[in-house]
């Protein structure tokens, strides 16, 4: 609880995040983080156990940012609009924070393992989505049924579109604005198929 607003530990955390966002996991190194923070590589070990612990901090920040997007969907008035807004915010997060999206949802088992330490517990994305779906089922907007299975289908739907886009396989879909409109059409299509 020191009065210090910018201790070395905080500095390392923010520099680590910037480095990852700029260079990706492949070029993420403890030494470079230290360089940017203006300290020696050895100093890092006074604050973190090593490279993995440092990267876990990066993952944590990404996960928290993801929540700030999802939670905006709760500002919508109806169950239906909250569900569609969830999908919209999901795309917004991915578009505006592609590296974060990668590490959270497209990571290799390797990266994922270290990121998982930060997560601890079941995937929170999924629970939020299940809640939105249960809400819609209760309001008879979606057909009553296995909310978990429906949530998985919807998640896979948005993730499929987003991840193919981020990997460059859907560059034919135009710019971000055009893609967003296509994304909306596709999602509306799926939801109408899942309606009663």
């Amino acid at each position: 609880m020191g009065a210090d607003g910018e201790g070395t530990k905080d500095r390392l955390r923010t520099e680590a995040r910037d480095l990852y966002l700029e260079e990706g996991f492949a070029h993420f190194s403890l030494r470079e983080v230290a360089r940017r923070a203006g300290v020696s590589a050895a100093a890092v070990y006074r604050h973190y156990d090593g490279k993995e612990a440092l990267f876990a901090e990066v993952c944590m920040a990404g996960l928290q940012l993801f929540y700030t997007y999802l939670v905006r969907a709760m500002g919508e008035p109806t169950p239906r609009s909250r569900l569609t807004a969830t999908a919209t915010q999901y795309l917004r997060f991915a578009t505006e924070n592609p590296r974060d999206y990668r590490v959270l949802f497209m990571g290799e088992p390797q990266e994922l393992a270290v990121g998982k330490a930060a997560k601890q517990g079941p995937d929170p994305t999924f629970q939020f989505l299940i809640d939105r779906i249960r809400e819609c089922m209760h309001a008879r907007i979606l057909q009553e049924g296995d909310a978990l299975e429906v949530a998985t289908i919807i998640w896979a739907h948005v993730h499929g579109l987003v991840s193919l886009r981020l990997s460059g396989h859907l560059s034919s879909a135009g710019d971000d604005g055009e893609f967003a409109r296509f994304y909306e059409r596709a999602t509306e299509h799926l939801l109408s198929g899942l309606a009663a």
Copy 2:
């Protein structure tokens, strides 16, 4: 056209592929390939331009293998069954060759760039799928419309399921057999939604 069945170049190619399948892109190195092939690292440069060229060979092999899966769908008798078989073979390929799937469809721009050299041209997956969909539209099994847009939706659907599975996010879906059945249900659901 030499009578040699196993020249050093071939040896390097197969060892490179094995190494990638075992260790992934992160630990793929020219030196290790050379070690496994029983030659010095310098010898590799007599046969390939460098690490990138060697990895491009690996990508090529994965792409060709992918085709051998897709083409099996053509053995089905009807447009509808050819389309569903395409989805089934897509999952089979990914399940039986996860590393290949990763490098082809989940790669980072970095890996993708070098793989793209091997691909040259528009994504062949997509054309195969478009053909199956046009076939179904012509047979009135799918609603007539923008085949490209429908193909993108279906591709994103199967890719979303597959890639979340490969990333470990759908481990709750049980073993491969259980997941395959869920995958079939989900796909049937989507197709019925796309029918007239």
